[in-house]
């Protein structure tokens, strides 16, 4: 059991096409691995019947001999994606038992191509968190260590744990401030946040609409390229979706990176950063130089203001987006007294349905948008966002193709370690990733080594807008050099 679930998308695709395995066998193997992996809490709703039905369809498509790349590939789907008739709660109690009447654009595209949903993956409530501890289903446990349990990161922690533990071939994540990249770094896998507008947001439960982007979480750069290609494309139902052709990302891999200009930003060198991360970064730089890349030192002067700007803008957008959860149209409605009016119903429902971190962010968002504070906080943060974007633009204008940084300032930490006594401490996890969301850029994180405690660490490459193909090509060169093949001990099985 679980042997087929260990496959990459690329290998499984070839085996499915040459009939070495069937989609049904592959799906059943993943379903068994998921059942054996309950201790990880990675899946919050399993959909085995749905998966088997889709596998039969995929096998029929494969039999015709002309199946798309993703045909027959079993995936974990973050609980943020609306899936028709299947519970979708954004890991929140306020969406208790919500079953969407429609399917998100991204998952619609995937099912049309023959991909298979194994279930919905656990996450931080409404994607607000960096440790998966804000989920109404309880935290996910990082496959790399169960005792004492480590966080898989967040918010796409269930997707990361499921891929790292080989419960599925790949998974969908979303990234508003680092929610794909931080968990993939913490679990030793690869994930990319595409350029804002590359993938449709339609049917993906909104957190901060100007920052949210979905992306693949997978076992290799090649798998990210295949899955991203299948997820991308223009969608008239999302007004911010880009009307651009989707290149064949996979065909852009394995190109030489000789002569490519890669930038190293000095502001990402933090005081007190662990030596392991310094070393990892230095190693990444050395490897790129060996491959013939030209390494240049650059400055992104407004980097330190990215986190405070993000924690104004994201909660502001969330306070507006999450106003829809009012106990009227879907999800939870709190019990109210006979004398209670509609305002009490709203207030009690939202108090009962939202967790502490979500409430805090909604309150902050409401505050920075409220009369008298809008200019001082929200408007100012918008302008700082523009400066952060301009910093990147100026670097790319000098011919830089990608920027190399660590993904996170630490390896995975223990669950319960950085609980909400000081929310700022948790926010600092996103210090290297939020800049990218603010600027709308694509960025990939790939595993680059283990720290002295044996935990995986990631490096991040940030690319030019719409240049995911080139970005993954450079990441692929690093991946080949690192040859990272460490796996967690399967203690959960």
């Amino acid at each position: 059991m679980g042997e087929l679930a260990k496959l990459t998308i690329a290998t499984a695709r070839d085996m499915l096409r040459n009939k070495t395995i069937s989609a049904t066998e592959l799906t059943n193997d993943c379903l068994s691995a998921i059942d054996a992996g309950d201790a990880l809490n990675a899946f919050c709703h399993k959909t085995p019947d749905h998966a088997r039905t889709q596998a039969i369809t995929a096998d029929k498509m494969l039999a015709t001999g002309d199946a798309p790349d993703m045909c027959g590939i079993p995936l974990g789907i973050k609980d943020l994606f609306c899936t028709k008739g299947v519970k979708t709660q954004a890991a929140s109690a306020i969406l208790a038992n919500f079953k969407p009447e429609y399917e998100s654009t991204i998952t619609t595209q995937l099912w049309q191509q023959g991909a298979i949903m194994l279930g919905k993956t656990n996450m931080d409530e409404f994607a607000m968190g960096s440790s998966n501890e804000t989920s109404t289903y309880g935290a996910v446990i990082n496959p790399w260590r169960g005792n004492p349990p480590l966080t898989p990161g967040g918010s796409s922690g269930g997707s990361a744990a499921a891929v790292a533990a080989d419960l599925c071939l790949a998974a969908l994540g979303t990234d508003t401030g680092g929610s794909i990249r931080q968990p993939v770094a913490f679990t030793g896998i690869t994930g990319i946040k595409p350029t804002y507008g590359r993938c449709s947001r339609w049917g993906v439960i909104a957190f901060a609409s100007s920052l949210d982007q979905a992306g693949p979480m997978a076992k290799s750069v090649r798998d990210c390229a295949i899955l991203l290609g299948a997820m991308s494309g223009h969608d008239p139902k999302d007004s911010t979706s880009a009307n651009l052709a989707v290149p064949d990302f996979e065909a852009m891999l394995d190109q030489p990176i000789k002569g490519k200009k890669i930038a190293i930003p000095k502001e990402y060198r933090l005081d007190g950063m662990p030596q392991d991360i310094e070393d990892l970064w230095a190693n990444g730089i050395a490897r790129l130089r060996d491959a013939g890349a030209e390494i240049v030192d650059v400055s992104l002067p407004h980097t330190k203001y990215a986190l405070p700007a993000y924690y104004v803008l994201a909660p502001a957008e969330a306070s507006s987006n999450l106003a829809r959860y009012d106990g009227v149209r879907y999800g939870l409605r709190a019990d109210i007294g006979a004398e209670d009016g509609i305002d009490e119903m709203y207030k009690k429902t939202r108090a009962e349905g939202f967790g502490d971190e979500v409430k805090r962010r909604l309150m902050i968002g409401t505050y920075v948008l409220s009369a008298g504070f809008y200019d001082a906080y929200y408007r100012r943060a918008q302008k700082v966002r523009n400066l952060i974007k301009r910093d990147f633009q100026q670097v790319f204008d000098t011919g830089v193709e990608a920027i190399l940084t660590p993904t996170t300032p630490s390896a995975a930490f223990a669950l319960g370690d950085e609980t909400a006594i000081d929310p700022i401490k948790m926010y600092l996890n996103d210090v290297f990733t939020v800049t990218v969301n603010l600027a709308g850029l694509p960025a990939i994180s790939l595993p680059a080594g283990l720290d002295s405690a044996g935990l995986p660490l990631g490096l991040q490459l940030i690319g030019r807008p719409w240049e995911e193909g080139e970005l993954m090509n450079i990441a692929g060169a690093l991946e080949k050099d690192f040859a990272f093949d460490a796996k967690p001990n399967a203690w959960w099985g």
Partner: protein, 99 residues
């Protein structure tokens, strides 16, 4: 900026979230920390910076003002009500709003 209990109550009311009196202190403390953290933004000179209307330059799209025939089109009362906590005669039901 220190957020006091009165401010917490005011924001909670605007956000339509019930906050118990016993929670006010802890909430005020945490919100104050977060707002304090944001105050770093005051160091930045923004005098010649414009707002960010869209992070990727994009023209807003136009479409014909006709109903679509996909999921976003009309005439789907059953689907729209299917997840509602309470309905009555084809409508969402809520506590009495006007006497």
């Amino acid at each position: 900026m220190q957020i006091d209990q009165t401010t917490v109550k005011r924001i909670a009311n605007l956000a339509r979230i019930d906050v118990k009196d016993t929670e006010l202190d802890a909430m005020a403390d945490r919100l104050s920390r977060i707002i304090g953290f944001m105050e770093q933004l005051n160091e930045v000179d923004i005098s010649d910076v414009t707002d960010t209307p869209a992070v990727m330059p994009m023209d807003l799209k136009w479409r014909d003002d006709t109903p679509t025939t996909d999921e976003t089109g009309g005439d789907k009362p059953a689907q729209i009500l299917s997840n509602a906590p309470m309905t009555r005669e084809g409508f969402f039901a809520v506590p009495k709003v006007v006497e």
